[in-house]
Structure formats: C-alpha cells, structure tokens
C-alpha cells in the first residue's frame, strides 16, 4: 500500500486543500452579488425571512436610513388586521423600488414593487397584519435605501381569521 508512507501524503493534501481554497477566494472577488430587487425574478428567499432587517438585506443588500421625504399612510387603528389599507408616496427622485414590511408578521416582507422609469413613486395596497406592530415602507431611490415607519394598532389579527 502506498498510502501509508508517513505524514507526507497528508501534508500534501492539506497544502493542496489550502491552495484551492485560496483560488476559490480569489475567484469570488470579482463577483457582485445579484440582489433580488435588481433583476426580474420573484425574490422567494426574501419573502421567507422572519425578521425585517434580514428581509431588507436579502432584497436590497443594504440598510435603509429614515427619510422625511416618504409619506406612509396607514390607519392609527385597524379594526380588521386582515385588510389594512396602506399607501406610500415619496418626493424622492429616481425611485426604482418600493417595499412594504410588517415587523411582527410571521414573515416580515409583505410586498415589493418595481417602479419603472415614468411610473410615479406612489403605491396603495392592502396588507394583513397579525397584531399591533410597525409597518415600514422602504424606498430605493438613486441606488440608496430610505425608510418610513408607522405603528398600526390592530384590534383583530389578520391570521386565523
């Protein structure tokens, strides 16, 4: 048997392994991760995340800063958490995407809209809310992320009808 000739084969294997890891590392450098919001595909993974911050990161790959140029319109109190009318309008320029997140829903990300050139940065929709929590609107404008948050009190949750 040639494999039992002392420590050398093992050492060579380790060295080879280290070399290929180094190569892989280098090979990965030029890649820019493609985030869901940047292409046409349905961002399935982002919708499965529980946490708000994780979902924003999966969708856009960056974090948002609060902006007073976003107007988030949501009721103070929603009697029926199954149908909460929520809309957002912004005066920010070059808006490419608007997303809605509900902090304490089973999955935070509720809806994400891609805004084409020539489409106004304004969306109205109706969302489900499990309980009283914050609703956040994320606006991507000129490559940067901005957010606005509002608490909505829910008297009857939208899960379990």
């Amino acid at each position: 048997m040639t494999t039992t000739t002392g420590p050398h084969p093992t050492r060579r294997l380790i060295l080879q392994g280290a070399a290929s890891v180094a190569l892989l590392g280098l090979g990965n450098l030029p890649f820019v991760p493609a985030y869901a919001a940047a292409n046409d595909k349905y961002p399935e993974d982002a919708f499965k995340l529980k946490n708000e911050a994780d979902a924003i990161k999966a969708l856009y790959g960056k974090t948002a800063e609060p902006s007073d140029k976003i107007k988030l319109d949501a009721p103070e109190i929603a009697e029926n958490g199954g149908v909460v009318p929520i809309s957002v309008t912004t005066t920010l320029d070059k808006v490419t995407s608007i997303s809605f997140l509900v902090a304490e829903n089973p999955n935070a990300l509720a809806a994400s809209y891609r805004i084409a050139d020539g489409t106004l940065p304004s969306v109205a929709n109706r969302l489900k809310m499990a309980k009283t929590t914050n609703v956040t609107a994320i606006v991507e404008a000129d490559g940067k992320l901005y957010s606005a948050t509002k608490e909505v009190k829910v008297t009857v949750g939208g899960c379990g009808g």
């Binding site: 999955n107 990300l109 809209y113 084409a116 109205a124 809310m129 939208g158």
Partner: protein, 103 residues
Amino acid sequence: MASSIRVRATTNGDITEVQTLIQHPMDTGLVKDAKGELIPAHFIQQLKFECNGKDVFVADWGTAVSKDPYVKFSFKGAKKSDDLKISWTDNKGGSDTITAKIS
C-alpha cells in the same frame, strides 16, 4: 369564466391612474379550516402591468397581501385607448391575464 382581474385605468392626458382588484384567496398556509386542517399556502407571487411593450409596474407579493388584493399606482407615457396588459402568477402555477383599454 369571468376574469379574476378587474381594472380601471384612466388618463388625464399625462398621468394614467391604474386601480386593480383581483379575486384570489391569498391563503397564508398558517390558517386552519373548520376541521382543524391547515389550508395550504396559495397566493399570488407576481403581478405585472405592461403598456406599449414595457413593464410599467411589477408587484412581488408574499402571503401578507390581503385576500382579493387591491393595488393602485400611476404612470406616465400612455394615451387614451392604449392597451394595458395585466397578468399574475401564483405559487401553485395558476395565472390569469387581461388586457384593458386606457380610458
């Protein structure tokens, strides 16, 4: 069968306002039925609005969008009697399409 999509698209010459109502259960997969069995998730994942060969608005939806979803948005660059094509697909492979005239 009547279409699941109801749409109203009106223009004032510059801006076209689109309001859409879709009939869909939007089941989350977390709710139990009367027998205590989980109702499997069934929800629209993507909804597209296409006008003059261009996607003007694309919605990616999760289960937190209400049953029989409603969405409103506005866009520029369309004229009266232009076609607006609306299509959705859901997580079970279901889909529907309608073409509306802008009025």
